[in-house]
């Protein structure tokens, strides 16, 4: 825990890590039924030691290089830069193996699961990217894999379901509640309660009980580590002026922000999904519509009614269709360290088509929310804006092809 020591010595409060009990300010912690306590505690006691172990780092980094294809490029999008009157850099997580940033975390967690001696892996997935990334590393390591996915999401993300099946995973539909990411996560947690001793749960976002938000953030931190040196190599600049990322649960934002969290010169921007509009009743804009409470084992901001019933969110993008946000992010938002903008389905779709036409890159619908707010952040001509291009759009082709037809329907 060298980070903790540094914090004490320098008397600086780092935004990077939670305290011993897992709190980022007033958010985080572990609010779990006793049946999960032993598992979560086992993970809490070893995760930092494992991540800091040079042998783990060597294996993790070598897989990231040779299997995932890292480092991912930091690419100056010239035509997009002209449109927005600033320097727009794209951190190309879409070029990773399996097509998104999700694999950074699953590679790390599968190595942790092996150290714990777990033979069975479970995961939840929304858009299917985390499910595919988990199925991929399970195939790589020869471990049994079960992925929970909302029945609604299975329908709108068919190509990813096919991928998971080909990779040898079993996809289990979550039929409860809104049948989306929230419910898939509930089902995965219940599976973990039922199979606590044999199973490791690979959570795909920076959510869940401590230590998950911190563990996932550290395993995604490679993104900002690379941005940091790549930008310097290409521009001579020490740091970007802005880092922009979309946020559902928040893993790509956590990774893209990590190395800049304590550097106030870098403005941190989150793009959340407004769905059909913040006041439309069909939205997933958690920072605006949410209040403090507990979801999936952590204290954070979430969308809920006055009785604490969790409200089913809406976004056309399955990966942002989540009623909560990671506790790290909740703390960044309420403390003013990060600024949030919301993009509607329509704005995100326009951004998809724009990036495709002017840069030759078809982004994931989730990612497009980060592009959709670029005109609003106030970046000037000489400034450098890094956008985390978290995923590619292959999985969304159906949505893109049918958009005009489905625009007026709500799930």
């Amino acid at each position: 825990m060298s980070e903790v020591k540094t914090r004490v010595e320098s008397d600086l409060i780092s935004l990077k890590h939670p305290d011993e009990r897992g709190y980022y300010g007033e958010f985080g912690g572990a609010y779990i039924p006793e049946m999960l306590f032993a598992n979560v505690e086992q993970l809490r006691l070893i995760y930092q030691e494992v991540i800091d172990d040079p042998a783990f780092q060597a294996e993790y980094k070598s897989l990231l290089r040779d299997f995932v294809g890292r480092p991912s490029p930091l690419y100056l999008a010239k035509r997009l830069s002209e449109i927005y009157g600033t320097n727009v850099w794209l951190k190309r997580e879409d070029l990773n193996h399996t097509g998104a940033h999700k694999i950074n975390n699953t590679v790390g967690q599968i190595l942790i699961a092996k150290r714990l001696g777990k033979k069975r892996i479970i995961a939840e997935t929304g858009a299917g990217q985390h499910g595919v990334a988990t199925a991929t590393v399970c195939a790589l390591m020869g471990l049994e894999c079960f992925v929970y996915m909302g029945a609604v999401d299975i329908e709108r993300q068919a190509p990813n379901v096919a991928r998971m099946n080909m990779l040898g995973a079993t996809v289990i539909p979550a039929e409860s509640g809104s049948k989306t990411l929230k419910d898939a996560t509930n089902e995965a947690i219940r599976d973990w309660i039922n199979n606590a001793e044999t199973t490791h749960y690979i959570i795909g976002s920076a959510i869940g009980p401590h230590p998950y938000p911190d563990m996932v953030t550290q395993l995604q931190a490679i993104v900002s580590e690379e941005i940091s040196y790549q930008l310097t190599e290409q521009t001579g600049k020490e740091h970007p002026d802005y880092v922009v990322a979309c946020v559902g649960g928040g893993s790509n934002a956590a990774g893209a922000f990590y190395h800049f969290l304590d550097d106030k010169r870098v403005k941190l921007i989150l793009a959340e999904a407004a769905g059909k509009g913040i006041d439309s009743g069909h939205s997933a804009a958690t920072s605006i519509l949410g209040s403090k409470g507990i979801i999936h084992g952590c204290m954070t901001l979430l969308m809920q009614d006055p009785d604490g019933q969790i409200i089913e969110p809406y976004s056309l993008s399955a990966g942002l269709d989540y009623p909560g946000i990671g506790p790290l992010h909740a703390n960044l938002i309420t403390s003013g360290r990060a600024k949030v903008y919301a993009a509607t389905d329509d704005e995100a779709m326009q951004a998809v088509f724009e990036l495709s036409k002017v840069e030759g890159i078809i982004p994931a619908l989730e990612t497009a929310h980060a592009l959709a707010i670029l005109s609003r952040i106030g970046a000037t001509k000489d400034e450098h804006v890094v956008v985390c291009l978290s995923g590619r759009g292959d999985k969304d082709l159906n949505t893109y092809m049918n958009y005009e037809n489905i625009k007026d329907q709500v799930h």
Binding site: Y31, M35, F37, I193, N194, G293, D305, D307, G308, Q309
Partner: protein
Amino acid sequence: MNKVRAKINEKQQRVLNVYFTAGHPTLDGIPNIAEGLQEAGVDLIELGMPYSDPLADGLTIQKSSEVALKNGMNLKHLFDQVKQATSSIEIPIILMGYYNQLIQFGMDRFLDMATTAGVSGLIIPDLPMFEYEAKFQKTFEDRNLGMSFLISPMTSDERIMQAGKLSSGFLYMVSQSSITGKTQDISQEQLAYFDKVNNMGVEAPRLIGFGIHNNETFETACKYSNGAIVGSSFIRALEKDASKAGIKTFVSSILNG
């Protein structure tokens, strides 16, 4: 002493605690079901506050919660119904719910309304023990609310002792590492766990729950503890027949086979 602990102390053995979800199968059924349970010889009532995301619960209780919420159950209505029920029954009512429900409703407001309605105890499976100790233990004890913490076969001995110390109602022994609603026989492994805890000298009385669904499992649980908790199987029975006669038949099947 709170009513939950007093009742268990008085009976000592074969304590039967029956769970049902508020608002299921009908919105206004709480007083009638509660009376039916008392008349059938039940000792404690555990009333579930229906929640959108009940993490520790299996399909039966999940579905009953969905039905209850669709029926329009909310906390205010729940307290109204509990108040009616406690005016005609004497056995204690314990509320079971998730911490987020209490936080969002407002802890003080929740406790005020619970006390006024005649609630005797609480079970909040996702409230950490240290947080209860730091923030709520004194308030709960001042209000005579019996708190019950859960332990499972994976809980360390140290935590078992701590949970026993903090449980002013009873220690809730989850019989297996699982969510609610399983209907298998009790295994040798489970018996060893029951036996171990039985000999630990835990401060609080103990009730065994999760998977207790018939006379055989009830009798086994009673051999190793002060009694047992029945939930999912009662929910399934209520779906077939929620009349007092139906409730009596169900309770008798648990107590007498």
